[in-house]
């Protein structure tokens, strides 16, 4: 294809016609139920990638699937056009639609481990795309070999004969990419294709996507919740909220100088691997389909909202080179978003370390998970333990907490060695070392109220009398910014962020000396992650306990920790002050990680805090 990267700036003249034009797309729950997605309109030119970003529940995957004329069970595409090279995909007969899928428009799934058929070898699954679109066996075989090269999955022939479970996550995703590119489509829809991959693998996949789209003149829609990933890859970005596109335009504009309060909130919530900044989350929850009131769906969470926002649905207006659905777009555009530098915490206190880990080696069965790991947590300090999946970071946390018993070495807490498993630790120690789990959806017993959950913690680990437990529970809930009426709620009545706050409150209820946070934000949206991280930082400063913060997200480290330990395949690759590890990594592995971390790129210069809008 002839089209290569056209300079973004010369947007008006001489650009090729859009390859994909989506107009007025609407998807509902059932034929006439509440809308899930509404009035979605955008266009993508050949060779370019449009980023469709939003948090969970924004409708981005629904839009992605609708681009292939597909709606999940219970959903119906009720209005709109998806024009691919001028022809409406939504108007095709089922037969023609089937012929178009895989050939003219293809899809890369979020989770290849479940989207690849476990019963078929991967090669057969790639070949199938070509065979069902009537290529001969020979031609298909040649094309499979070719496309494998294109996705840089240099295929020894036996790899094609393997079953999906025999490949790594990155390889599986490349197979999915190969399936998508095999038929040389005009449009590719990528639905969070790198979620769950390590940063380095993610980077390779992104590089592959970028170069394939450019070199083959394919238009692509890239769905993601990760602003940093998107900013790296796409030329235009559409931000979705509650089923609508709230802001759309060139990536430098939308993510560099966001106008819509929601986009501003999102950008402010993204942690930076370069600078220590306070994160600003967005309070509240995205309204679900059917619960979206008459006005702007963001109004309830918006600091700029005026009376009209609650009653009037904003139409898109063009402001500073992008379209925004906000009644106050003009006024807000003149203000600067706020971004506070981090207030440094108190200096680490003198005295012996709160926790000392020396030469800990742990294994699962015959598989070694940790090999001689040592680290030190000073009192009142926060140590971040970072690493990719399989680095052993969670194993380390579980050894310290007493959840994983199969380890050797020494773990000393306040000068006394810790017993291997929680069962053999006394109640005092159990209370002093608290653990917050990764997934708030499984860490709270669904059959108990929040009051019972926190009450049980107090009953087991403290001498607080039955009568005082409710008061104490309300107090800690207040500490994590939850109202006391949460006490009588069940976990499934709370959002993910609220549940994680409850889990933190449960740990805080017993006044721990050491809090272990195991990937506590990885199952949360970025705006909620920011709230949780800020919450932890604030409480740690107030209560002065020591903390181990386990994360795979290097960018988060600066926002919370003073010391960082980088784990690599069960060993400490590097450790030291955060500034040093992230700013000037000495170890090649850390250097590579830092290099591969996606960054929110679009010319974001550090701005002083601006004046608050009136």
């Amino acid at each position: 294809m002839s089209h290569s990267e056209a300079p973004q700036a010369e947007a008006e003249a001489g650009r090729p016609k859009a390859r994909l034009e989506v107009a007025g797309l609407e998807v509902r729950l059932g034929r006439s139920g509440p809308d899930v997605v509404r009035e979605v309109t955008f266009a993508v030119r050949a060779g370019e990638v449009l980023g469709l970003v939003g948090e969970s529940g924004s409708g981005k995957t629904t839009v992605a699937l609708a681009l292939l004329g597909h709606a999940r069970r219970g959903l119906c595409i009720t209005a709109g056009q998806v024009l691919l090279d001028g022809a409406d995909l939504l108007a095709l007969s089922p037969r023609d639609l089937r012929a178009a899928r895989g050939a003219r428009v293809s899809y890369v799934p979020q989770d290849p481990s479940s989207a690849l058929n476990p019963a078929l070898p991967v090669g057969a699954q790639v070949r199938e795309v070509l065979r069902v679109h009537s290529r001969t066996a020979g031609a298909a075989g040649d094309r499979v070999a070719e496309v494998m090269g294109e996705v840089r999955l240099d295929p020894p022939p036996e790899m094609l004969r393997r079953d999906p479970h025999q490949l790594s996550g990155g390889q599986q995703q490349r197979i999915a990419l190969a399936m998508a590119f095999a038929g040389r489509p005009s449009l590719i829809v990528l639905d969070e294709p790198t979620t769950g991959l390590d940063v380095s693998t993610q980077r390779h996949v992104l590089d592959t996507v970028r170069s394939l789209c450019r070199s083959h003149g394919v238009a692509a829609v890239y769905v993601s919740h990760d602003l940093a990933v998107v900013s790296d890859l796409v030329s235009e970005v559409a931000v979705m909220y509650a089923g609508r596109v709230v802001e759309i335009g060139p990536v430098a504009r939308v993510l560099g100088e966001p106008v819509h309060p929601y986009t501003r909130g999102l950008v402010g919530a993204v942690p930076s691997p370069e600078r220590a900044e306070a994160l600003a989350g967005i309070d509240g929850q995205q309204p679900r389909p059917g619960r979206r009131g008459p006005g702007c769906p963001f109004a309830a969470r918006c600091g700029h909202a005026i009376a009209d926002c609650a009653t009037q649905v904003p139409e898109p207006v063009t402001v500073a080179g992008r379209a925004v659905r906000c009644l106050r777009a003009q006024g807000i555009q003149a203000t600067q978003p706020e971004r506070l530098p981090l207030v440094p915490g108190p200096p680490a206190a003198a005295g012996g370390p709160a926790l000392l880990v020396r030469g800990v080696t742990a294994s699962y069965g015959h598989r070694l998970a940790l090999a001689g790991v040592s680290l030190e947590v000073p009192p009142r300090a926060c140590v971040a333990v970072v690493g990719e999946s399989g680095s052993g970071k969670t194993t380390l946390a579980r050894c310290v907490a007493g959840l994983h018993g199969n380890w050797t070495g020494e773990i000393t807490f306040r000068g006394r060695p810790l017993a291997r498993v929680a069962r053999r630790r006394d109640k005092d120690t159990l209370g002093r070392v608290q653990y917050v789990f990764q997934n708030p959806y499984t860490s709270l017993n669904p059959r108990k109220t929040i009051g019972q959950i926190i009450g049980q913690q107090l009953e087991e680990l403290t001498s607080v009398s039955r009568r005082d437990r409710a008061d104490r529970a309300a107090d800690v809930l207040n500490d994590v910014s939850l109202a006391p009426d949460v006490l009588s709620s069940y976990p499934d009545q709370l959002s993910g962020g609220e549940r994680q706050r409850v889990a933190i409150a449960r740990a805080l209820a017993v006044n721990p000396d050491l809090l272990i946070c195991d990937e506590v934000t990885s199952s949360l949206d970025v705006s909620v992650q920011a709230i949780i991280v800020e919450l932890l930082r604030r409480i740690q400063r107030e209560r002065q306990f020591a903390m181990i913060f386990i994360t795979h997200n290097l960018a988060l480290v600066r926002s919370i920790a003073q010391t960082a330990v980088v784990l690599r395949r069960g060993e400490v690759a590097e450790s030291g002050p955060v500034e040093q590890i992230l700013g000037h990594p000495a170890d090649p592995y850390t250097q590579r990680l830092m290099q591969d971390v996606p960054r929110l790129r679009p010319s974001r210069t550090h701005r002083p805090p601006g004046p608050r809008p009136a």
Binding site: T62, R72, Q110, A401, A422, R425, S443, L461, Q493, S523
Partner: protein, 313 residues
């Protein structure tokens, strides 16, 4: 209800379906579904016959009052049985023992099986091995054969039948509950309880069991149906209450030689048994749909769990 990374909005239609907490509420909403209402109606009808029947029976169930296989008449609406006893009176009298025995056997089997299954799954290790081997051994006997084996040695005593049927349910219940517990014990809220230093028995009782109420109730409903089937079957084979007593299973067997003379003597008891089992099973199915909300019942899901676990080790 796994919520992993920021999930697709397609998950939303499901979000309206929440875990309903008070189990009685679930039970109540099951009765409001068509299946639940029909099931409950059928079962209650038969229970009513069995409970009230002995009080309103026109004749003594073992009095010889009419001709053997006598045709239905005004005085004996369902005719006479093989010895000339009043079929109607025997039908009204013949269900109570079945219900009592089936209920006791179910309670015994579900309680024992659940205790075994939950502890095997949660404690793992040696307890798991011993419990599951015992389960394997009992499972190797078809339930009816197991009961027959015990009866052959001690004679058809009613308490023995009840215990035999209860014990033969145990392994099945244990397998289902073990598989459900294996899944639960990996959940973080169980780990959280362990980090509070809770004793294993308390963890099972306070953390795990409340999450097993739905599968337990489905299992109980299923086992109740099977208890009725097996106990009535044993009576049909001649191992039930001793002869003069009336029992639906026994009546079917006694009177089938006279099918062409007085079919009602067979049809009515068979119909009552059928309505009862259809009723309990249909209600259980309705409950399972409301409480668990899947097409697959826990006993069926356990099969697949077993399959994947066997390979996982």
């Amino acid at each position: 209800m796994a919520v992993d990374a920021p999930a697709a909005p397609a998950a939303q239609p499901g979000q309206t379906r929440r875990i309903r907490r008070p189990q009685w509420g679930t039970l109540l909403s099951a009765t409001r579904t068509p299946r639940g209402a029909i099931g409950l109606g059928l079962a209650s009808l038969v229970v009513l016959v069995a409970v009230v029947g002995p009080l309103v029976a026109p004749n003594s169930p073992d009095a010889l009052v009419t001709l053997a296989f006598g045709k239905p008449s005004g005085e004996f609406p369902l005719g006479g049985d093989s010895l000339g006893r009043d079929v109607l009176s025997r039908v009204l009298d013949g269900g109570r023992a079945l219900l009592v025995m089936a209920t006791c056997a179910t309670a015994l089997g579900v309680a024992g099986g659940a205790a075994a299954g939950v502890s095997a799954a949660y404690l793992r290790g040696v307890s798991d091995g011993i419990i599951m081997r015992a389960v394997d051994v009992i499972l190797s006997f078809p339930q009816l054969v197991f009961a027959l084996l015990l009866l052959s040695l001690l004679g058809p005593k009613l308490w023995l039948i009840t215990i035999a049927v209860g014990v033969s349910h145990g392994p099945q219940v244990a397998r289902v509950l073990r598989s459900a517990t294996l899944d639960l014990s990996e959940r973080d809220f169980v780990k959280a309880a362990e980090l509070q230093g809770m004793r294993p028995v308390k963890v099972m009782w306070k953390e795990i069991l409340p999450n097993l109420v739905s599968p337990l109730m489905v299992e109980a409903g299923l086992r109740l149906t099977y208890s009725i089937v097996i106990i009535a079957g044993l009576a049909f084979l001649g191992f039930g209450q001793p002869p003069p007593a009336a029992s639906w299973g026994t009546m079917i067997n006694e009177n089938r030689d006279g099918l062409s003379l007085d079919p009602w003597a067979v049809i009515v008891p068979a119909l009552l048994i059928a309505l009862l089992t259809i009723g309990t099973n249909t209600f259980t199915d309705a409950f399972a749909r409301v409480a668990i909300g899947v097409d697959r019942r826990p006993d069926e899901a356990a099969l697949i769990e077993d399959l994947s676990q066997g390979l996982g080790e």
